[in-house]
Symmetry: C2
Subunit: 253 residues, 2 copies
């Protein structure tokens, strides 16, 4: 089951959500692979030091024949694996401009490992460019994290256009698994109003669980941990665990 | 005086900083122009409705001969003008792949208006791609907003590589005007430690003033206002005013 986490707006919790849903699935016994497609390597850096990641996902775009297994690394979380990103991914868009198979490179690369994992979670950069499109083409589902701010809601329309374009052109099976409200600050009417609009816009697609702003969630990457290892009793861990359970329910439908 | 606000990390306050420094300069009597280079159009949407912005900065990249004056619009803030972005800017990187003058398109487009304005503030997308490079090539200075999180500090090295590359290849005069700590949450040791590391790393380049997390700053774009119009007595307004005064001092050195 391949799931992309995407939203072109910056800093809305894509990486935090990818890392914690993936870790949560691994903790529940599902063999899970994180694919980091962001040249900024944020999900990579939670698990690995820079010198540990010489072979990266960039090879999926630069090589004719590429077996992604060469780049799969074990993390310190049992059952959780990752393919690291690298800064070289930033060149992919101009490198492959005009190449007809540019949007399906990741899908092709993942075919050799799809049966090795229960879940493949793909983290996206803050753009609607070729890297995000590759993630969507390679996925069964997409989860859209949305922070309850005015700019966040404006961007959703553009995201849905890209989603429909990919579905129509490359991947009829692609579905929105859900919309996850993140960085929710219950003290502000701004957040409450935005959450209401998100729930109106998406109905049942909106996850029941909302991820509140939490110091533990913000700190855990500094300690190179997912939230379940770092602070298992924290509100952030309890919330992401509920999201993981919801993800499992929804993919089984 | 052309100043780019840039940092490839998402959601670190680039747009909030561009809009509020520009508005602050205009309030002090400096004729100021905002250039929005982000296809997500966040600074554009603070001042304009979508239907108001048919002619956008995209023309600077798509047209051979282009007078940016055709796209300059007055905002509701006296002395503050803006050139709107558009979603079409997302195509610029692949559209101009391989064109030798791709990095200097914005610089060329702005030459006809540089003398009309005291300050031109350029908002950047969350990437180190062609749009951000165009902003840096067209600028005298760059301000780097940094949010005090572990991922933010990791990205600074990559940003400085791009900065040095632009300086060496296209724009010897480009300087870092300053590094602005944003989204600072004084309750967390994470923020305090990161702020210390940022000050160690950048010394006098770090602005004395730190922008704290503030509900008013987050709300003001929802009301289509800059912080000085929206909440002039708020901590956010006081802080950004101090930053504006510091910017004026530093450009005069
Ligand atoms: N629920 C939360 N509570 C507090 N901080 C959070 C929460 N979720 C994410 N953060 C923090 O907010 C910042 C942005 O989150 P994150 O990097 O996951 O977003 P992103 O969408 O992946 O960003 P980018 O667009 O740059 O890839 C990070 O510093 C992260 O630690
Ligand atoms: N000091 C602050 N206090 C509270 N909220 C803030 C502050 N600065 C910015 N924000 C909010 O944080 C979010 C991200 O800020 P902003 O959009 O300015 O960052 P950005 O770097 O321009 O993002 P992007 O990378 O997507 O362009 C926005 O919802 C904004 O309103
Ligand atoms: Mg991320
Ligand atoms: Mg922005």
């Amino acid at each position: 089951m391949n799931i992309t986490i995407a939203n072109q707006k910056g800093g809305v919790g894509k990486t935090t959500t990818t890392v914690n849903i993936a870790a949560g699935l691994a903790h529940k016994g599902f063999k899970t692979l994180i694919i980091d497609t962001d040249p900024q390597c944020n999900s990579t850096s939670v698990f690995f030091e820079p010198h540990e990641t010489e072979k990266s996902l960039f090879l999926a775009f630069s090589e004719r024949e590429f077996n992604v297994r060469e780049t799969v690394k074990e993390t310190h979380v049992k059952g959780l694996y990752a393919v690291p990103a690298s800064i070289h991914l930033a060149k992919v868009e101009r490198m492959l401009a005009g190449e007809i198979d540019a949007p399906i490179k990741l899908k092709k690369a993942l075919q050799s490992v799809t049966n090795d994992f229960d879940f493949i979670m793909i983290d996206s950069p803050p753009s609607l460019g070729l890297l995000t499109v590759n993630g969507l083409v390679a996925s069964d589902h997409v989860i859209i994290p949305i922070a309850p701010s005015p700019w966040a809601l404006e961007g959703v329309e553009d995201f849905l256009d890209t989603f429909k374009g990919v579905k129509e052109t490359f991947n009829e099976e692609l579905k929105i698994l859900g919309v996850l409200i993140t960085l929710y600050d219950s003290r502000t009417t701004l957040a409450r109003d935005a959450a209401i609009r998100i729930k109106e816009m998406f109905g049942d697609l909106a996850f029941d669980e909302i991820i509140h702003r939490s110091i533990r969630l913000e700190e855990s990457p500094a300690f190179k941990e997912d939230i379940f290892s770092f602070a298992p009793d924290s509100k952030g861990a309890v919330s992401y665990e509920k999201v993981v359970e919801e993800v499992i329910r929804r993919v089984r439908k």
